[in-house]
C-alpha cells in the first residue's frame, strides 16, 4: 500500500448562485437578483467568468477552485480559513456528499466523515435506538455497534437514561451521546468539521482528547477548526483556504500565523494616523500598539519559548502629568491572565513632558499558555485617578506550543489546562535504594 491516503488534484466546485441558497423555485427567482449582486462582485475580484453558463444574469460561483494536496497515511491535516473560504465545501467533497465540478479526489482507505454530531438522531427514539440508528448512518455495522455499545454509553455518561427517548435529554446529554457514537467509529481516514464547537468547555476538552487519540493511533485525520490552539496542537501540517484556493500549505504554526495576519487584518498592529479620533483626551492620545519579537518584527504568532513585546506608542499633549501605561491580557476563555503597569524607574512618579513615548511591555517566554491572547491597553494617572484612555481588545496574538519537547509540556502532547504555562525550576535529589529518607523534624522547620 502506498503511503498516500488522500490525493486531491485540480479540485473545483461550482455553484450556481441562488440555486443552492433557495430551494423553493418561486421564492428563489425573486431572490436571485439580490443574492447575485455581491457574488458578482466577488467573481469580478477573483477574475472568474461571471456568465459561463450563458444566461448572464445568474453568475457561477466557484466555492473551490484548483485545489490540490496530498495527505499521507497517519497524517493529521488541519484546514483553516474564514467562513466562506471553502472549508465546508472541501469536506463535503471529500465525504462524497456532493460531487466536484472538476478535478479528482483519490482516497485510499475507509473514510468516515463527521460534519456534525448526532446526524439522524430522532427525538422520539430512545438513546439505545438512536445509537444503533446513528451508528448505521455513520457506516458502522450492527456487529460493530453491538460490540462497542457499552463503551459508547459509558463514554457518554448516560447509562441510566439509555432507554428514555432522547427528546427528554438535556442538550448536554444529547451531545455527549451523539459524540460518543461518532468517537467509536473506526475508519482509516476521518474527516471532521468543527464538531468541537458544540457543548461546554469540559465536553470540548473530552472531544479534543478523543481526537488526539485518533491521531495517535496512526489514523489519517482531516480536521477543520476555528480553534487555533486545537489546530496547532493536533495538526503538524495545515492548509489555509481563501476564496476557494489553498493559499498556504505547510507547518501549522506558519499557517496559523499567516491566517491571523491576513484574515484578521493584522491584529498585531493598530495605528492611529490622525491625532483627532485617536483614543485619549487633551492630556494624552494613543497613536499605536504593536506586538513584536525581540528583534522588532511585528508578529501574530509566537513560539511559547519566545518573549512577546507589546509597544504602546502615545503622544503627550499637555505636559506635567504622571502617566502609567498598562496592559490587560485576556485568553480564549475570556479570563484575564494578567494586568501589568509600566514601572520603568526612569518615568515612575515623574511628570511627563510633551512628545511621543513608546512603552514596551515584555512578556517573558515560557510564561503564557498556548492559545490566543487579546490585549487591552490603557494610560492612567493614579493621583488623582484618571483613566486617559482604556482601549479594549486592541491587539491579539497567538502563543504556539510546538511540542518540540523543551517547553513546560515536555513530551506530553495532550491538552493542558491553565492560564499560564511557566517553565519552572525543578530540582531532583536521588537517594540510593534504601527508600526515601525519613524527614527529620529540623528539616521541616523553616
Amino acid at each position: 500500500m502506498s503511503d498516500v491516503a488522500i490525493r486531491v488534484e485540480g479540485l473545483g466546485k461550482k455553484y450556481r448562485l441562488g440555486a443552492n441558497a433557495q430551494p423553493y423555485q418561486t421564492l428563489r427567482e425573486s431572490l436571485t437578483g439580490a443574492a447575485a449582486a455581491p457574488a458578482r462582485a466577488v467573481s469580478r475580484v477573483l477574475g472568474r467568468s461571471a456568465s459561463a453558463n450563458g444566461n448572464g444574469h445568474r453568475p457561477d460561483f466557484w466555492a473551490l477552485r484548483d485545489v490540490g494536496f496530498e495527505v499521507k497515511h497517519g497524517e493529521v491535516l488541519g484546514i483553516i480559513g474564514r467562513n466562506g473560504a471553502g472549508k465546508s465545501t472541501l469536506l463535503k467533497l471529500l465525504s462524497q456528499i456532493t460531487e466536484p465540478t472538476e478535478g479528482r479526489i483519490s482516497i485510499n482507505g475507509r473514510v468516515a466523515s463527521l460534519l456534525e454530531v448526532g446526524t439522524g438522531f430522532h427525538p422520539e427514539l430512545t438513546g439505545r435506538e438512536n445509537v444503533f440508528l446513528n451508528g448505521a448512518i455513520l457506516g458502522m455495522s450492527r456487529a460493530d455497534i453491538l460490540r462497542q455499545f457499552d463503551e459508547i454509553v459509558a463514554f457518554a455518561e448516560v447509562e441510566q437514561f439509555i432507554d428514555t427517548p432522547v427528546k427528554h435529554y438535556s442538550s448536554g446529554m444529547y451531545l455527549r451521546l451523539a459524540f460518543s457514537v461518532a468517537a467509536h467509529l473506526e475508519p482509516e481516514i476521518l474527516v471532521v468539521d468543527e464538531v468541537l464547537a458544540v457543548g461546554d468547555a469540559s465536553f470540548q476538552k473530552k472531544c479534543l482528547n478523543k481526537m488526539e487519540d485518533v491521531g495517535r493511533q496512526g489514523r489519517t485525520v482531516l480536521f477543520v477548526s476555528h480553534s487555533m490552539p486545537a489546530i496547532t496542537r493536533l495538526c503538524r501540517r495545515s492548509l489555509l483556504l481563501r476564496y476557494g484556493h489553498v493559499v498556504v500549505d505547510g507547518p501549522s504554526e506558519r499557517v496559523v500565523d499567516s491566517y491571523l495576519r491576513s484574515e484578521h487584518g493584522s491584529t498585531a498592529v493598530r495605528t492611529w494616523a490622525e491625532r483627532d479620533g485617536a483614543p485619549g483626551n487633551d492630556t494624552v492620545r494613543l497613536r499605536a500598539v504593536r506586538v513584536r519579537t525581540m528583534d522588532g518584527t511585528i508578529a501574530n504568532a509566537f513560539d511559547i519559548r519566545q518573549p512577546v513585546g507589546i509597544d504602546i506608542e502615545f503622544e503627550v499633549l499637555q505636559p506635567g502629568r504622571v502617566l502609567v501605561p498598562n496592559i490587560h491580557a485576556f485568553n480564549d476563555d475570556g479570563i484575564c491572565v494578567f494586568i501589568a503597569s509600566d514601572h520603568d524607574p526612569a518615568w515612575r512618579r515623574r511628570p511627563r513632558p510633551a512628545g511621543r513615548f513608546v512603552s514596551t511591555a515584555w512578556i517573558p517566554g515560557n510564561f503564557l499558555a498556548e492559545g490566543s491572547l487579546v490585549t487591552s491597553v490603557a494610560v492612567s494617572t493614579m493621583d488623582p485617578v484618571i483613566v486617559h484612555f482604556f482601549e479594549r481588545d486592541v491587539v491579539a496574538f497567538q502563543i504556539v506550543d510546538k511540542l518540540d519537547g523543551d517547553s513546560a509540556r515536555g513530551d506530553y502532547a495532550g491538552p493542558m489546562p491553565g492560564a499560564v504555562r511557566p517553565l519552572l525550576q525543578w530540582t531532583t535529589e536521588h537517594y540510593s535504594n534504601e527508600g526515601p529518607r525519613p524527614l527529620v523534624a529540623e528539616e521541616l522547620a523553616f
Binding site: T98, I107, V111
Partner: protein, 296 residues
C-alpha cells in the same frame, strides 16, 4: 506519557513528496460525473443494514404520540371499504364479480392503501431527510426505499382483518394465494417506480408535495378498486391495463378470492409499465442524485 506520544512530538516535516511516484491503487476515486451514471445496485446491497435501520425508524416513529396507534393501519382501509360499500355497492349497485362487495373492495383496498402510503412517503422522503443528505454519504436510494418498505407493517396488520373477513364470508383461499407475494412485490415496485421519480423531482420542485395527494386520489378511481375491471370492454381494456396498479389489484383479487380468471395480457402490460418506469426512475434518480445535497 506513553512512549507513543514521541511520534507526535517529532518536529514538523513539511516536505511534499515529489520523489516517489509509486503507482497507487485507490479504493475510492471521486470525479465529476458526466451524463448518466451506472446504477451501482451492489453498493445499495452493502448498505442494507442502513436500509433496515431507516425502515425500522420509520416504523417505530409512525404511530408515536397517537391514541389509536397501529389501529390506524386497519381503520384507513376499513373505513374506505365501508364508504365504498355504501356508495358503490349499495346505492350504485356496482357488480363485484360474484363476491360480497365488502370483501371485493377490501381485497383491492389492501394493496391500494399500501401503494398510496408508500408512494406518498417515498415522494417526501428525500426532503424529509435533508439533514442526512447534506451531512452523510450513503446511496441516496436507501431513503425512498426505506420509506416505502415501512408501509409493509401496516399492510400486514390490515391483512389480518382481511383473513377475518374471508372467514366471515366463508371464502376459502385457492392455491392461487401462493402468488400473492408476487403481487405485493409488484405493488412495491409500482410505488417505488413512481415514488423515486417524484422524490427526486421534489428536491428541486416542492410542488410535488401538493401534486401527490391529488395524483393518488385520481389514481384510485383509475384503478379497479371500487369496481371490477370486467366493466371495461374492448380495446380500452388494454389502455386501462397500462396502469401498473390495475394489474396489482386484479392480481390480489385473483389470488385471494379466486372468482375471476387472471387476465394475463393485461397483467403483462401493467407489469411491463411498472418495470420500465422503475428502471427509468432509477437512472433519473442516479442522475439527479449528485445535486441533492446542494439543492435540498
Amino acid at each position: 506519557m506513553a512512549p507513543d506520544t514521541s511520534a507526535v512530538a517529532l518536529p514538523a516535516q513539511p516536505e511534499r513528496s515529489a520523489a516517489e511516484p509509486a503507482p497507487t491503487t485507490f479504493t475510492t476515486v471521486i470525479e465529476p460525473r458526466l451524463g448518466w451514471a451506472p446504477l451501482r445496485l451492489g453498493e445499495l446491497w452493502r448498505y442494507r443494514e442502513l436500509l433496515y435501520f431507516l425502515t425500522w425508524r420509520d416504523v417505530k416513529v409512525r404511530y408515536k404520540q397517537t391514541v389509536l396507534g397501529a389501529a390506524w393501519a386497519v381503520l384507513q382501509p376499513l373505513l374506505t371499504m365501508v364508504i365504498f360499500t355504501v356508495i358503490f355497492g349499495h346505492f350504485a349497485k356496482i357488480p363485484s364479480d360474484g363476491v360480497p362487495y365488502p370483501v371485493f373492495s377490501y381485497t383491492a383496498l389492501l394493496p391500494w392503501t399500501f401503494f398510496a402510503y408508500a408512494l406518498g412517503q417515498a415522494s417526501n422522503s428525500l426532503v424529509g431527510n435533508a439533514n442526512l443528505i447534506s451531512k452523510v454519504y450513503f446511496p441516496r436510494l436507501v431513503i425512498p426505499i426505506a420509506a416505502s418498505l415501512a408501509g409493509l407493517l401496516d399492510f400486514a396488520i390490515a391483512f389480518v382483518v382481511l383473513l377475518g373477513m374471508l372467514a366471515f364470508y366463508r371464502l376459502a383461499p385457492t392455491p392461487a394465494v401462493l402468488a400473492l407475494p408476487l403481487f405485493l412485490l409488484l405493488a412495491l415496485a409500482a410505488a417505488l417506480a413512481v415514488g423515486i421519480w417524484l422524490s427526486a423531482l421534489n428536491v428541486q420542485y416542492r410542488d410535488v408535495r401538493y401534486v401527490v395527494p391529488f395524483l393518488t386520489q385520481v389514481w384510485l378511481y383509475a384503478t379497479p378498486v371500487a369496481y371490477p375491471s370486467s366493466l371495461i370492454h374492448g380495446p380500452l381494456h388494454l389502455v386501462f391495463a397500462l396502469n401498473p396498479m390495475s394489474g396489482v389489484v386484479e392480481g390480489f383479487r385473483w389470488a385471494l378470492l379466486g372468482k375471476t380468471a387472471l387476465d394475463f395480457p393485461a397483467l403483462a402490460i401493467s407489469s411491463s409499465v411498472t418495470v420500465l418506469a422503475l428502471v427509468g426512475g432509477l437512472f433519473y434518480f442516479r442522475r439527479m442524485e449528485q445535486q441533492f445535497a446542494d439543492v435540498v
